[in-house]
Amino acid sequence: MAGEIARADHLEVEYGGHVVWSDANFRIQRGELVAVIGPNGAGKTTLFRLLLGLIRPSRGDLRVFEEAPRRGNRKIGYVPQSHAVDRDTNVEAVQLVRLGFSGNRWVPNITPRGIRAERSATDEALRSVGATELAKKSLGAMSGGELQRIFLAEALAGSPELLLLDEPLASLDLRRAKELVDLVDGLVRTRNVATLLVAHDINPLIHCLDKVIYIANGQVATGLPSEVLTTESLSALYGVRVEVLHDSRGNMVIVGGEDSHPDSEP
């Protein structure tokens, strides 16, 4: 299928000799925004590592752009959860975005044409995340929300068709989280780029999701949010009674999943 970005059939993955999760089945189409939800340590990042070709599945079949995942696929843009950047990283943001465009080259392309291509890709990436003014700002002096936008621009500079965002909302307050979700949603719609977003909390995302991949208890449930995030479906996933409650604005609270489940935390 032309629009198919990734496909998993009976996928299973092991880590350190034990099965992290098994029998995952999902399809990701072009231009879809997919949330990957689940408790800590359930194997959400593991799914990303599979898609990036950094680890191999122990069973089942995984296709990315209709071929086996391979490391260094330029069609994938990746924003990991942890970064080396800290207060002492006094490097202007545009440098990182530039590396996102051509950092894998041994020697930069310094022909006038190469410089122009890099500049336009970098400028465009920064503009699309609303960070044009941040280009010269030091990474070390940035707020969590600003940094996330720069990492997003770094990933977008390579013109990916699949974006993998690992916990981009983790360090953001509610308002900044909502801004970032709106930004990602806009990128998905305008660039038609399929996006997988790992999150703790479904609520900031619920209004714009096309699909949910819920990983818990060694199992993976996939489908529309209205299908997956129900009392019945999550109870089956966890193997214990789980209650999905809704408030008047459509926010949901998942009660009783697991102690470590962040949705049940304040």
Binding site: G72, S82, V85, T89, N90, W106, E154
Partner: protein, 296 residues
């Protein structure tokens, strides 16, 4: 000290330099010092960016026992230095980026290595002067063949760094993304550590094991506060290392104190200045540093 022919420096630096450069050991010192400063300046930017300053410190100590061992076996200290620093450097790199933050483990191995170096020296008769020059450096004793070796090694390492620089920069700033993009971050880490090991080994000649920080870490620690652009910062770092080395050799020629003391002092003063700058009243000329001091 009044009976020997005592040269004194005046206000005419060109004349002073001309006097100095008549001596072969001074020419050797300047030549070796220049390439060492360039290499150390480049490497130090990566050290600061990768937060590997403890590894730099560690390799210096490991180098001490290597040098002491070489002295014991009648080999030039530089070969012992190179052998020990490159071996342990690649060892640290192969353990992964996170290993360079294992201060306790590295520190424990370090103390042992220093002890081993001490043991080697105790077997050797002339140990006091040898130990002194390895620990604190002695650039004035550098021979012609050492200069050639230093220049050739430095140029080779600089050539390798020029090729991997961009990937190394990426892997240092955003290792996980670089890995996902298909870069061999482990190999890049080993290349970086090998470059650091060589830079340290040859820098020991002028600055010594104990003062190695002044050339392999501090120049970039100064530069990174002055520029947000990696290439400009590398350039500043090299200039700082060069200035400190040249000025150190120059002053030490006319004063009794050792060269490495002057180099360390110059680097330290520059570092203190860039740390104080952000707290001074804002001026236009300070725009480059602006913004950083708030976070630091």
């Amino acid at each position: 000290m009044t009976d020997i022919t005592w040269v004194w420096w005046g206000w005419n630096i060109v004349y002073d330099l001309r006097v100095m450069l008549q001596y072969e050991f001074v020419r050797n010192a300047f030549e070796a010092g220049t390439v060492i400063a360039i290499l150390a300046g480049v490497v130090s930017y990566l050290v600061v960016l990768r937060r590997s300053s403890f590894a730099a410190h560690a390799l210096g100590h490991v180098g001490f026992s290597g040098a002491a061992g070489a002295v014991l076996f009648g080999v030039a200290p530089i070969y012992g230095l190179l052998l020990f620093t490159t071996t342990s450097g690649s060892g640290i790199a192969l353990l992964g980026q996170k290993a360079s933050h294992r201060d306790v483990e590295i520190g424990t191995v370090l103390a042992f290595m220093l002890g081993l170096g001490l043991l080697f020296l105790s077997f050797y008769n002339g140990f006091a002067t040898e130990a002194y020059s390895i620990l604190f450096g002695s650039i004035v004793g550098i021979s012609n063949s050492q200069v050639v070796f230093t220049v050739e090694t430095s140029l080779a390492v600089l050539a390798v760094l020029a090729v991997v620089y961009r990937q190394l920069l990426f892997a240092s700033l955003d290792e996980e993304v670089a890995e996902a993009k298909g870069m061999h971050t482990l190999v890049l880490g080993v290349i970086f550590m090998l470059a650091l090991a060589v830079a340290i080994s040859i820098a020991v000649t002028i600055i010594g094991v104990l003062l190695i920080f002044a050339l392999t870490v501090t120049p970039a620690a100064i530069a990174i506060r002055l520029s947000r652009r990696p290439l400009v910062a590398v350039l500043i770092s090299v200039l700082v290392a060069l200035f400190a080395t040249w000025a150190g050799i120059f002053i030490a020629f006319y004063e009794v104190e050792p060269t490495s003391f002057f180099i360390v002092t110059i680097v330290f003063v520059l570092y203190v200045i860039v740390r104080i700058l952000p707290f001074l009243p804002r001026t236009k000329s300070r725009r480059a540093v602006e913004g950083h001091g708030q976070g630091a």
